[in-house]
């Protein structure tokens, strides 16, 4: 079935270092991929989304490229800040024969330390 995999549960990094959070997906339909960020005790907010193959999408210093050939949509940032500490979810949406569907990954907690 349709699914999203985020392999890292917790990533701890020193401020200023680059980060890549992994997201791979499985679907037989044309996918939309999303990254949501959820700060402690706050609601998830959309960070990035894409449905275009091999096109880089950027927002607030974060970027991701949807690669349909490898079914991936990894989230990257060149220099993390303390304020980036949060839970990051990758999500997949698509249009199946039975209707639209959505799947969230289990999330990756990013912890940035001084």
């Amino acid at each position: 079935g349709d699914s999203v995999t985020q392999t890292e549960g917790l990533v701890t990094l020193t401020k200023g270092l680059p980060v890549m959070l992994n997201c791979t997906y499985q679907t037989t339909y044309s996918p939309f991929l999303f990254w949501y960020v959820q700060h402690l005790n706050e609601a998830p907010k959309l960070l990035l989304k894409s449905s275009t193959d091999n096109k880089r999408t950027e927002h607030q210093g974060f970027y991701a490229t949807l690669h349909k050939s490898s079914s991936s949509f990894h989230l990257q940032k060149s220099s993390v800040q303390l304020s980036d500490s949060a839970l990051y979810f990758c999500a997949l949406s698509g249009l199946a024969n039975s209707g639209t569907y959505q799947r969230f990954g289990t999330g990756t907690k990013l912890q940035v330390v001084p």
Binding site: A43, G94, T100
Partner: protein, 114 residues
Amino acid sequence: EAGVTQSPRYAVLQEGQAVSFWCDPISGHDTLYWYQQPRDQGPQLLVYFRDEAVIDNSQLPSDRFSAVRPKGTNSTLKIQSAKQGDTATYLCASSTGDLQDTQYFGPGTRLLVL
């Protein structure tokens, strides 16, 4: 512009009790979603509406959960006879389109079933 509002913010129940959650979406958003987010997991879509119509409730445990949006604006999610496994945060979100469009999440209701 006001965001998505939810109430109550917290609820503590004994097993077997009932509880209702209320959501007021962003004005003009015709699509409303309810998610269940267990601790340290990603959100799982329970049900979503376009206006007053249920589009997908396939993940809603129909024997104890129900959701309505009678006038196509506010919505109520109800759990009859809560179980400890229902302990989670219940998130409401709204959008102007469907699952491929940006969703705006409310702050959630944290439910603890003892």
